[in-house]
């Protein structure tokens, strides 16, 4: 396997954008190429596009060649679009990494994009309800908020987790989001404001939920010798895993407050890289809802099972705590354009390693970062391990 690094990238402002899917791709792509002045665009030999539902939101399929056209990329090796709902973006990164690591590609662009806002919000919700098993769960109203509301209810029931603890996750991520000019929401909030916001699906209020968002991110990956020519600050990809435990339908999910697939994925990743949770400096985790981040602390091994509420209460997931979780504001502040989110997490890690973020949300001396992207009703968990230098030669053990 060859070493692979992220050499640069660009992002659009996330939010309710007066911009089309195509506009977003061009904005992000242009910004990525401008970020890597040494890169000759014609040397990009592969393209991976993470996009969840362009068929439903913009009635367009076969989008990878459309992106190649919009960005003037002449693909000679591999081109594909990846879809695993909310983690479509990280999957695109994973395949780009593997394509370069195996020697098939040398330089690959990864674009994550979603256009989710239309005039008809019930159409957007229809897209979301089809992420679960449409015929058997979607039909019963299983969009994300009711599902994660029941996850929260079970976690509260079993472990005594409180709504205040959940609100504290939003308070932390809003603090870092207030220093992120690309985030959909850039205002700090209080526990009272979170708990007093409009009830969506009890116990989840509006501010317990990430948003329906438009946005795109593009990054460029390259093999080691090329990466070193293109940048002085490469972000190395050490390894990555995906684990599915629950399959797809509610009947397969067992206890909702236990995310066994994530527990397995975390253990597998740490084993492959020969590190422990304590070695992680930055964790970009999939806080689609406040309760998600609490469960992720637990299943990723940052604290014991059931102790996630206490972990945020003690401030352990702030910069300066046990591990800096979502120093870019997470999905809660950035919003969640499905295909773009996993690529944004990688972009955020790159910006942290380069020191290109404001002081208030900069994680000093960070060497090891993980990015966790989940998809659907938390059935499938995806983790990538990024490193500034330390683990770049890790040849993960099988």
């Amino acid at each position: 396997m060859r070493n692979v690094a992220i050499v640069g990238g660009g992002i659009t402002k996330f939010g309710v954008r007066e911009a089309s899917w195509r506009d977003l791709v061009q904005e992000a792509g242009k910004s990525a190429f401008e970020d890597i002045p040494e890169l000759d665009r014609k040397d990009v030999d592969s393209l991976f596009v993470g996009a969840s539902q362009p068929e439903r939101w913009i009635y367009q399929t076969h989008v990878a060649p459309l992106v190649a056209e919009l960005l003037g990329i002449d693909v000679k090796r591999v081109i594909s679009r990846t879809e695993v709902a909310c983690a479509s973006g990280q999957s695109a990164i994973r395949y780009a990494w593997l394509s370069i690591a195996t020697g098939l590609s040398d330089i690959a662009m990864v674009v994550g994009v979603e256009k989710m806002n239309t005039k008809f919000m019930n159409i957007s919700q229809t897209c979301m309800v089809n992420v679960g098993n449409r015929e058997f769960d979607g039909v019963n109203g299983f969009t994300a908020p009711p599902f994660f509301a029941m996850v929260a209810q079970r976690h509260m029931h079993r472990y005594g987790t409180t709504k205040e603890q959940m609100a504290l996750v939003r308070v932390k991520n809003a603090k870092y989001g207030s220093m992120n000019p690309y985030a959909q929401f850039q205002k700090e909030v209080t526990v009272e404001k979170v708990m007093g916001s409009r009830m969506i699906s009890p116990p989840l209020t509006l501010l317990d939920c990430s948003a329906i968002t438009d946005g795109a991110v593009a990054i460029v990956l390259a093999c080691e010798d090329i990466a070193k020519k293109l940048t002085d600050t490469p972000t190395w990809i050490a390894c990555g895993v995906q684990v599915v435990e629950h399959a797809h339908t509610v009947n397969q999910m067992g206890e909702l407050s236990e995310w066994l697939a994530l527990r397995k994925a975390g253990k597998e990743l740490y084993r492959m890289a020969k590190i422990s949770p304590k070695d992680v400096d930055i964790a970009e985790v999939h806080d689609c809802f406040t309760i998600s981040e609490i469960i992720e602390y637990e299943e990723l091994g940052f604290c014991g099972k059931g102790e996630g509420g206490r972990f945020i209460e003690e401030g352990q997931s702030y910069i300066g705590g046990e591990v800096a979780v979502n120093p870019g504001g997470g999905l809660l502040s950035n919003g969640h354009p499905l295909g773009a989110t996993g690529v944004r997490q990688a972009w955020e890690v790159m910006m942290q390693f380069r020191g290109d973020v404001p002081k208030g949300r900069y994680v000093d001396n960070a060497e090891i970062a993980i990015a966790h992207n989940l998809s659907g009703m938390a059935q499938l968990h995806h983790i990538m391990l990024y490193t500034r230098d330390k683990l770049r030669d890790v040849k993960f053990s099988r």
Binding site: I123, V129, N140, G141, Q153, R198, M199, S201, V250, N251
Partner: protein, 160 residues
């Protein structure tokens, strides 16, 4: 200038509503049509593997455990236990938004997971505030009428 005139409204394609087309024959046919026929007859059922004993839900034409296609239809016990619930207050999808707000629930019937199922359902005739985890619930068959003279069947939950 040449004009292309569009109709004022276009009939909603049926696939944009969440219920399966439930057709026994033709291009829209489903191999688990008996699930819907049993619902029409008043029974919520699923497939059980005659070879390995696994109960699959949703029903299937091949057992996901042993790949056998030697399956039988079994009735899901009429009463079960409320496992989790919430209320869809904001953000319902197309068509279901006409029912909002409504209770969304998960209930366990039989001895889950070895000899039972954990299934989702909309719960009628109760308030969110009146529900507790562990409450006894029962499933009930509902008829979905329309568009036009189409009749389809589904199930919901009520408090037992």
């Amino acid at each position: 200038m040449r004009v292309i005139k569009l109709p004022d409204s276009i009939e909603l394609p049926t696939l944009l509503d969440p219920w399966d087309l439930q057709e026994p024959n033709g291009a829209d046919a489903t191999g688990i049509y008996d699930f819907y026929r049993n619902l029409a007859d008043g029974d919520l059922t699923t497939t059980k593997c005659r070879d390995c004993g696994k109960i699959n839900f949703p029903p299937v034409i091949v057992c996901s455990n042993c790949l056998s296609d030697n399956l039988e239809w079994v009735k899901i016990p009429e009463t079960g236990e409320l496992y989790a619930f919430t209320e869809m207050r904001l953000g319902a999808p197309l068509i279901l938004d006409q029912l909002a707000p409504f209770i969304v629930a998960i209930a366990r019937f039989g001895d889950y997971p070895d000899n039972g199922v954990q299934i989702s359902g909309i719960m009628f005739d109760t308030k969110y505030e009146d529900l507790r985890i562990g409450d006894k619930v029962r499933w009930e068959v509902v008829r979905v009428e329309g568009p036009g003279d189409r009749e389809r069947y589904w199930y919901c939950f009520t408090k037992a």
